[in-house]
């Protein structure tokens, strides 16, 4: 498919997405799409550090949480939403810089476990300091509409995907991929691994903070501890893995399937079964199909083309 055809396809798709709230008034569909867009943002942001750079950071929820918490409180205090979200995302980014230095000193397994533990610490702290759910004040409750939430999540999702696309085509992206393949070799070839990792981490956490900001705007009631719950990390991770690490379409397709599965399965089975399905897919991907769904599709397409050429 050539690029102008692809561009027009994407454009058409986006147009449809923009038009949806004008014709569809059902809240459950709008919620479903909004959630999918939030997940696309969250998973793409993890994709930068985990997919392209190969640093499987399991503390992603911390940045989502910081972004969400700060945005929520600042916005409810009267600050206009865009500024609040920016603040939230910046806070997440700053926190990333602070812990980035010691975190990246840990190698491999220790990095993965260390980031997980760090996020858990944050969750426990906030569970203890702010145990009660934060609910929107009554004046806002009355005026609550899903439509602005929908458009906000769409804007942020498009922004995130664009940024990831830009990274993938840039020198930074090349550097990240080389680090993923073999960090020592990359270093020997002159790639400044520390700088690259840090930059990727900053972008990744900034976007995660934005995703948190969208959620903060969306949620009627939010328990602060829940904003830091590990499930936000894990959902992003399995979406990226199953969809296809280090690809653009991977997290997008992954998010769509994930949220779809979640909505469908919750109708017939107790909650959480979508995790069961995705968890099994995750294990299969780790063991047999490291390229995820996208990788699988690529492989099938290539063998078909190879066969056709014969």
């Amino acid at each position: 498919m050539n690029s102008s055809k692809r561009l027009s396809l994407i454009g058409a798709f986006l147009l449809i997405l923009v038009a949806v709230p004008l014709f569809v008034k059902r809240n459950d569909i709008l919620t479903w799409i909004t959630f999918t867009l939030i997940y696309i943002t969250l998973s793409q942001s993890w994709n930068i550090i985990g997919g392209y750079c190969g640093q499987q950071n399991l503390g992603h929820a911390a940045f989502f949480g910081i972004g969400a918490l700060l945005t929520r409180y600042v916005w409810l205090a009267g600050v206009p939403l865009p500024a609040a979200m920016l603040l939230g995302a910046l806070a997440a980014c700053i926190f990333a810089i602070i812990i980035g230095f010691p975190a990246f000193r840990l190698k491999g397994v220790y990095f993965i476990i260390g980031t997980l533990v760090m996020a858990e610490i944050l969750k426990m702290i906030f569970d203890t300091i702010l145990p009660r759910a934060n609910v929107l004040p009554s004046r806002m409750l009355g005026a609550y509409s899903l439509v602005p939430r929908y458009y906000l999540s769409l804007i942020i999702a498009v922004l995130t995907v664009t940024i990831v696309l830009w990274i993938s085509r840039s020198k930074l992206g090349l550097g990240l991929l080389s680090i993923r393949e073999d960090e020592d070799a990359a270093e020997a070839l002159g790639v400044n691994t520390q700088k690259n990792k840090l930059v990727a981490f900053m972008i990744s956490t900034f976007l995660a903070g934005l995703a948190g900001g969208v959620y903060a705007y969306y949620a009627v009631a939010a328990q602060p501890g829940y904003l830091f719950a590990a499930v936000w990390t894990f959902d992003a991770v399995i979406i990226v893995f199953v969809g296809g690490m280090g690809t653009i379409m991977g997290p997008i397709i992954g998010s769509v399937f994930f949220v779809l599965l979640k909505q469908l399965l919750s109708l017939y089975l107790p909650g959480g079964m979508h995790v069961l399905v995705f968890g099994i897919l995750f294990i299969i991907v780790v063991l047999f199909f490291p390229g995820g769904l996208i990788g699988l599709i690529e492989k099938l397409r290539r063998t078909k083309e190879g066969g056709a050429a014969n």
Binding site: I113, G114, I121, V275, G279, I280, I283
Partner: protein, 291 residues
Amino acid sequence: MAIELWSQTFVNGINIGALYALTAVGLSLTFGVMKILNVGHGEFLMLGGYLAYWLLTLFKVDPFLSLPLVFIALFFLGAIAYKLFFSVLSGYPEEQKVKNSLLVGFGLFLVIPQIARLLWTGDERGITPAYSGSSFPLLDVRIAYVPLGGVILAVIVIAALHLFLKKTYFGKAVRATSENWKGAKLTGINVDRTYLITFSLGTAIAGLGGVMVGLTQSISPDVGMEWTLKALIVLVLAGIGSIGGTLAAGLTLGILESVGAIFMGPYAVVLGLVIFLLILMFRPQGLFGKA
């Protein structure tokens, strides 16, 4: 502060610390020998607890008597899990093996609680035999029977494991495999089978821990990760390769948390995790491990 409070705190710390040690020792074995950090370790603990719960409520089997049954069951479950998920990785180069096994364990952590939820619902279950709450006085403290049983169990299991590794032929083969698997193969040791048995031993011991968790606290589908984290903290405190060190580290963590609860209240839970991070960054070989 009153001496009785200190003593009781100390006893509580020993009680919970013994459980921490028991949970950690299985993980230590697996990681030390095979370099597999099974992040799904706590899930096997959870399954062990549920099994004991079933045995008690359905068949009236006393939890302490059900320990051997749980051990055998979780041994087999572990063997199946190893064959299905981890043995594929044994040929990989070490760094990839460690990372991928972590991811696979993570997958188990995602999947097993959902299965548990289907089988037992999300409610918390306690294993409560008739003697659950009873205790006896010793000097100024009350010693509860059930946690005491846990401490004795932990000591017996860890001592047995230590003897097994030191004195038996197969135990020596396990140690040899962890030191040099190539050399082990060349002396006639079936390394694949050694890995299988080691992994299964780890999950079996975790199952025993689960029984104690059910007896002293409660079992729910999500309880696994919490205990995996505790085991990781103990592991990092103790360092790899020291079974006795694991017992000491577990008890230390228990006592630290117990004392911490007095001064820090609800924040004491964070204590262990913070210590974990600090040690990871500044002394990765742990307090008792080899550098």
